[in-house]
């Protein structure tokens, strides 16, 4: 066979021209939202760092920061905002040394403590005294070999009167660590257990039950003192598990990210029947800031040993993240990354719908049921990480630009 160098040369040129321009996918775009709006009241802007989670109490909001936005601005700051007026005003900040991402923040139910999670290297929780909510005073930084992989989320909850922090630890060897905060200056580990596939992402604790979001392993419900199975905070006993569905049948695994067990004030016998699960699926656009996927899944937990998914909510081209629920009015607020904030009517029987309101697998579609009440920042250039309803207003943390104050939704 004769070899022709010139032909080989042109083959290479053709290959180069054909292939050099190959690029990545574009994300599916979000359809413009045309329903009622959660109107913007004010915007507390900060762009020096990427904003992460938020929490509010009274007239004060705390936002954490994430990743690295510039050569020198890493996610090691907690911003403190005065939210008494329409526009949130940054009044101070906390810097956590040797940290690059502060993924989670929460104020304890008595308002005395602020707990901040540090992720990635040097995983820990940092605990502050909130005697002066605008000037948190650091009590301690709790870091052990069991937390050093990184604390992805730190949920603060009370079980049988004692305050605990539930720390979801990054892999390898993803695990849940429970820390007793009775003496916040000296937290004490009371439980550590490997769980999650490939990680445990978040938990929800209420009435002596622990709900764990275990990604591919779905949601598991544990008795930690209120489930009647002999479980304790030091030795949780599994009650039930459910593998939630996915936003796309092609995904295969649950991608269970967060949970909220709903107690509907007006729910009567079914008041505690439903739990909401956030599915956080990776985007398809190549950046954490330009696309997202994942649905809200509704579980019927009337039998805790056999929870089952009965309904879902889907937004084309976007995925959900954290929730806040107005249990007085029965409204779920969901952070929806590139689709803003979505408000859903979650009062009543979410498992009952007409055939036309069902997906092919039999689950009820909350959108088709008319449960979509309103949306905020839906058509804006935002990327909403967290949402918090404080009884009057809805606050949203925008990774790109800080904190937004929105009107709350109203029931029809």
């Amino acid at each position: 066979m004769a070899f022709r160098p010139r032909a080989f040369h042109w083959l290479l040129v053709t290959l180069f021209v054909a292939l050099a321009g190959c690029g990545s996918d574009s994300p599916t775009s979000v359809k413009p939202f045309t329903g009622p709006s959660l109107s913007v009241i004010g915007h507390g802007q900060t762009t020096a760092r990427y904003t992460a989670e938020l929490w509010t109490r009274g007239n004060v909001a705390y936002t954490t920061t994430w990743g690295q936005r510039s050569a020198t601005a890493v996610g090691n700051a907690v911003y403190i905002w005065n939210i008494g007026a329409n526009t949130p005003v940054m009044v101070d900040s906390l810097i956590v040394e040797n940290a690059t991402t502060l993924g989670d923040v929460q104020v304890s139910d008595d308002g005395k403590l602020l707990v901040v999670a540090t992720e990635r290297a040097n995983g820990s929780i940092v605990i502050y005294d909130l005697t002066n909510p605008l000037k948190p005073a650091r009590l301690t930084r709790y870091q052990t070999a069991n937390t050093s992989n990184g604390v992805h989320t730190a949920e603060v909850a009370r079980v049988d009167g004692t305050l605990y922090a539930f720390l979801s630890i990054d892999p390898p060897d993803a695990r849940l660590v429970i820390v007793d905060l009775s003496n916040p200056e000296n937290p004490r580990e009371v439980m550590v257990r490997n769980m999650g596939n490939p990680f445990v992402h978040d938990v929800f604790v209420r009435d002596g039950l622990l709900f764990t979001a275990l990604w591919n392993d779905g949601v598991t419900i544990w008795d930690v003192g209120g489930g009647g199975k002999g479980g304790t905070i030091a030795n949780p006993v599994q009650i039930g598990n459910v593998r939630t569905a996915t936003w796309s049948p092609s995904v295969g695994d649950s991608e269970a990210h967060n949970v909220w067990w709903f107690h509907d004030v007006a729910g009567g016998a079914d008041a505690k029947r439903f739990a909401f699960v956030g599915e956080e699926a990776p985007g398809t656009g190549g950046s954490a800031l330009n696309s997202s996927n994942g649905d809200i899944h509704v579980l019927d937990v009337s039998d805790m040993s056999a929870p089952r998914e009965v309904a879902f909510y889907h937004v084309d081209g976007a995925g959900t993240h954290n929730f806040s629920v107005d249990e007085e009015r029965g409204i779920l607020y969901a952070a929806y990354y590139n689709a803003g904030v979505r408000a859903l009517d979650v009062r009543g029987d979410l498992s009952s719908c007409t055939d036309t309101q069902k997906a092919t697998d039999g689950r009820c579609d909350l959108r088709k049921m008319g449960r979509e009440l309103a949306a905020g920042l839906a058509n804006a250039q935002t990327f909403i990480w967290g949402v918090h309803f404080d009884g009057s207003f809805v606050y949203a943390s925008d990774m790109l630009s800080g904190i937004w104050k929105l009107t709350a939704a109203t029931r029809p």
């Binding site: 160098p5 290479l12 180069f16 990743g67 510039s70 040797n98 940290a99 992989n149 996915t246």
Partner: protein
């Protein structure tokens, strides 16, 4: 040393070769992370390579020890490099780089082999370690798969060579960490190589890799494609050459989350006593959250998301003047790279202009390659997987 010179055609009843080599170099990167210039010196690629065969070549073995875990623990400054928790530095390889046993034979005119151990997966092009540059290309993790527990079946007839393999998907966790044996078999690859002419070798390959980044499993999976052509012998003024295209799709279930592509071309020519090599590549790199050390990133992407994709266009020129002294081959070299990174998608949580302070990144290295002994093994290919070996004659380990 060119890859072509490493191909074995020896059919002696028993043979053994041994080689030690290393690169001593000083590198300056400007700017690097945090808009700083960095100047560092290393002993890179300190290797001991052994290759032996017995029983008329029907049974052989390859052993390569790599001591970068001792000399390069912080990684080597390397424009655009990424992988195994390192970014903008090339990560150290594992101490046990290759340990592969090979049984070879023939059925008529078809040479066959079965290889197993820890080593290279039959995917992509030759390892950058065997090519003319001290700096690795950005596409190393798109264009090669190595340091896995692997079993490879290969057959070669005339100009066609076929390889198929199964292996563990997890990438090395550290220089001293072995692969997760429980994951052996969760990934597979196949490569076809054609040598239509003694001058040219063309390969096409595919790999399905399960959760390479999260060792415990459950992370993003990869589907990888590679097409490459290389010069096996000098052609005119070209003493060596390689053109390759590679693509990696990252999947969650069957949904494609990300896609990374690479085009690379490199060539060498001799000018008087010097060898001049040039490389151009255009490669997309995933970005993940950096740690407190800005050259390191989290290998556990909670949420299975990346924070951005950077496209690197890099041109590299290397000049070396090799010579020999007794059994040693010595090659002083100078190497200069210019890199231009841009964010491929917007908005991105990794913006090269913000991270480096510039999108023009220069790197220069000066150093010395030193090798003692010889090696009758083409790194990354085993037994009948070495192309164009006449039937009945075993090679490559």
């Amino acid at each position: 040393m060119t890859a072509g010179s490493m191909e074995s055609r020896d059919s002696t009843r028993a043979s053994f070769t041994l080689r030690a080599q290393a690169i001593g170099l000083v590198t300056r990167l400007d700017p690097g992370p945090a808009d700083r210039a960095y100047t560092e010196g290393y002993l890179a690629q300190p290797l001991i390579m052994a290759h032996g065969r017995v029983l008329d070549g029907h049974l052989g073995g390859v052993l390569t020890l790599d001591f970068e875990g001792l000399t390069l623990a912080r990684g080597q400054l390397n424009t655009g490099a990424y992988g195994e928790g390192y970014a903008d530095r090339r990560h150290p390889h594992t101490y046990l780089h290759e340990a592969v046993a090979v049984a070879s034979g023939a059925f008529g005119r078809v040479g066959v082999s079965l290889a197993g151990g820890k080593g290279f997966v039959p995917f992509g092009t030759d390892d950058p370690m065997t090519r003319p540059f001290a700096a690795y290309p950005v596409n190393h993790h798109l264009a090669q798969i190595l340091e896995r527990y692997v079993v490879i079946a290969a057959a070669s007839a005339g100009p066609l060579t076929l390889e198929g393999a199964t292996f563990n998907g997890d990438e090395p966790a550290s220089p001293g960490a072995p692969p997760d044996a429980s994951r052996f078999g969760d990934s597979w690859a196949a490569r076809a190589t054609v040598t239509p002419h003694p001058l040219v070798e063309v390969e096409g390959s595919f790999a399905s890799v399960t959760s390479p980044e999260i060792a415990n499993g459950g992370g993003r999976d990869q589907r990888k494609w590679s097409v490459g052509a290389r010069l096996r012998q000098p052609l005119g003024r070209l003493s060596g050459g390689l053109v390759e295209w590679a693509r990696t799709d990252e999947l969650v279930g069957d949904v494609r989350a990300n896609q990374f592509t690479s085009f690379l071309a490199e060539a060498s020519t001799s000018l008087s006593r010097a060898t001049v090599s040039a490389r151009f590549e255009n490669t997309a790199r995933p970005e993940e959250e950096r740690l407190a050390d800005p050259f390191r990133y989290s290998r556990n992407p909670t949420d299975l998301s990346i924070i951005g994709i950077t496209r690197w266009q890099i041109g590299t020129i290397a000049v070396t003047t090799p010579f020999s002294v007794r059994h040693a081959d010595i090659a002083p070299f100078v190497e200069v790279s210019y890199g231009h990174p841009t964010e491929e998608v917007t908005p991105s949580a990794f913006v090269p202009q913000d991270f480096y302070g510039s999108t023009s990144i220069w790197s220069a290295s000066i150093g010395l390659r030193l090798g003692i002994g010889s090696m009758a093994h083409r790194m990354g290919r085993y037994g009948a997987g070495v192309p164009n070996v006449p039937a009945g004659v075993t090679a490559g380990g």
